[in-house]
Amino acid sequence: MGSALLAQGITDSLIHIEGVEIVSSRIFIKEQAGIRQTYVDTSVIQNKMSVSLSDLLSENTSVFIKNHGRGALATASFRGTAASHTQVSWNGININSPMAGMVDFSMIPVYIIDKLQLNHGSASIADRSGGIGGSIHMNNEVNWNEKEVFNYVQGVGSYQTLDEFVQFTLGNKKIISKTRMYHNYSKNDYTYINRGIGNIDPVTGEVNNPLDTNSNAEYTRWGLLQELYYRPRANHLLSLKYWGQSADRTIPRPTSYEGPDNSNLNSQQDIDHKVVADWKYYSSYGRVMLRSGYSDKQLDYSQMNRVPGLGLIPAIYSESKQKSLFNTLSYASDLGGDFSVEGVLDVNTHFVSSKDSVSHTGYENQRSEISLFGALRKGFADRVNVNLMLRQDWIDGERVPFIPFLGMDFRLMKEVDLILKGSIARNYHHPSLNDLYWQPGGNPDLLPEDGFSVELGLAYQQKFSDQLFKTEVTVYRTDINNWIVWIPSYQGYWEPRNIQRVLSKGLEYSVQLMGNLSKLQYKLSGSYAYTSAINYGDPLIWSDASDGKQLVYIPEHSGNMLANLSLGAFYFSYQFNGYSERYTTSSNDVTSRDWLYPYFMNDVAIGKHFKLKQLSFSTEFKVYNLFNESYHSILYRPMPGRNYYLTLVFKI
């Protein structure tokens, strides 16, 4: 998070045209030399406040989301890597599960996010280690000009979906309190043709697939986000943030399940509390930040079955508790001569306990992490920027191999925003606590996953009167050794091992065009990713057909496009995203039975703003999956067809 601190001094050039800002941001910054960083546009965050972060990431970024169904588990793959290779933070504290190493993005409502930043690949070394794929940052920010606001949003959608969001801000020039509360519910009972079940027609003898309802799929979430900001003097900023959430959901049975109605019932409950306090101090000697955070997560999972004569009996009843403490001290300073330094110390501790009251299995463990980060950045004559970042981690007192990053930017033509970027880095990802200690199977002898990356990019930005064009293309190559895979051991249970070597190569392209055409304001953006994530296995063990093949569930091609148009009080948006086929076998065999064919999603929305004295009011109607495509993100988990969503916003 250190470089975000440094970036705070940056001024953007603003042109105000009919109330819309056409902003060209600085793209030649020594603190960002050699790295690819994307900010999700705030208008996208506002438009998608009623959905989960998983939807936003899959529709508006190059991160691929493996979605187990609407409202169900959604994990990320950044640059073809595993879910645990994406490091995620909320206001500076890491929120990856210390047990599983990953984040379920379906559990994060976009509503709680003000600013969303992606650090692609080794750019994540600026934040912490382990982000071999990259890192994602959700932040809340204070706006000292916005003092008293009340805002209520009601969303109503297909499948008995109801969302309520309330926000109020109170304060003055020195102190601001911002409160957000939300409730999301969906019965989630869409219908689909069930290919997993065949009924034989008693008359004709023909086999038919029933039209089934996505049952046992409902979810409820309650949440509260409270932020407090205090600015005793212009160069001191204190903040305290709390985010609490309780989420209940049932997990659909396999679509082919034809057992008793009250069997194979799976449900999950997540209760989360996160709190973080910051003190930021700015002086002529530099910027100091002190941060402490605490995260508490409880996750319960159960599977119930009907037992004749006994009623519903759990076959799985697993409860886990994860508590983490985070502490950060950082210092950054400009030393003159276009030279800056940064130093960060992180000290984190995790405590986890997991037990299954049916099998009596489980484990308790803890981990301490110390990370020391240093960076030197220098610019040369506004033509070259150099960014050297070094990180050293200790896990439970043991030194993890050193993590170096060297990045450079070259301004190819004087005073033109055409920047050539390049970097070379090594990164390590430490096994999760489940990988090490899960019972049975946990393997305490696992080595950290070891990634070596190079990347090269070209960024360009041009402003034409009141239009702005921005584009960036990056190619990367990450060689990951000791990739951890859970596989059945000769002991009969599954066990993680450092067996794979994965070579992930790809290209990321993004483009944005925005501006005003007389009264029409437009914003167009698109991105495309080519991802080749190839398994090179271990030929000694795996003389098999998976060598040289694309990893399962990683699409080679993915892309998205968003068009926002507004004219007076009306606005219109069109969202497109598409994925090429994904393999479900390590050998990349395709049979039509288990083929995850390409799919293309199209959503449209139309809305209008009203103003009545102090009260402003807006309404939006949205159609998801406009062309009613049948599609799957994972095998035999049908996704919903065309569906509708109505939003009403009141603001005082």
């Binding site: 009596h360 000769y490 795996w542 076998t585 288990d594």
Partner: protein, 346 residues
Amino acid sequence: MNDDELWEPEGEMPLSTGGLFIVNEGNFTYGNASLSFYDIEHKEVHHDIFYGINGLPLGDVAHSMAIRDSLGYVVINNSGRIYIIDVRTFEYVGKITGLTSPRYIHFVNDAKAYVTDLYARSIAIVNPQTYEIIGSIPVSNSNSSFFQHSTEQMLQYDKYVYTNCWSYDNQILIIDSEEDRVVDSIEVLKQPNSMVLDRHNSLWVLTDGGFQESPYGYETPGLLRIKAGTRHVEIIHRFEEREKPSELKINGTGDTLYFINNHIFRYMVENASAPELIISSPYSGLAPGGYYALEVDPVTSHLYVADAIDHLQRGNIYRFNSTGEPVDTFSAGITPGAFSFNPDTP
């Protein structure tokens, strides 16, 4: 897109003239279980025969298959059902549904079969002709703090059906098939995973001992001989600690046992000497994976060994003759876990 065209039957399959069905589990929750068919005489394998003929996926985690008359009963564990096929044409002819987590089917007579279950704490009684559930046999053990009993394989001696309770358990339950109730039980070693009945009506039971640090406790695995009539444990062979024997099978004449213990071992029921290694696994003991399933041809005593590789691609089947000489190698589906011989084998 509209995916209707994906679900058309893929067309003609040769009629089965006798051979070996391979039940491929697929991956848990992926719904990609499949059936392969191997023509023993012509050494030809046909993949995905159920889907190919019927345009219908088999389901989620196919666990076992049993054949009676001309019908094959495929037990699909996480789909809670049994699909019934014509073993000559592979055509889908019916299903038994309403099963919680079924594992194996055993035919008592033309109108009665038992289906064991991992989670139901009861054995379902089904009618294999009408495909209906007609009753259940409770097997719940509320004296244990572990989830008991789950039931697995079944063998019949006289009117008694023996079933092993594997998961966090150490019992063989004995069911009177006339009264449809549990009448007795035999305590064996921890986690009996497979069993066979030999020509002398002795029950051989292989136990895997659970896993080290298991809350249920761990013990070294064993091979036990139990007199089916007296229900007494007569012989116990112990394995080494950390060995994990599985897949106990017997030849057609009921005198030779085979099992996997990393490698393939053979054991003559007549002699009490140590099991003999007959097929060496190419996988070292520390390597992941390894041999996953085993079957013995009841007529020729040829051995079929399944290798699931990484469980995410088509597994391999290695065929050996009775002395362990390689005969053929072919691929099956994802995670080949069980076999069933069509008794019409020429």
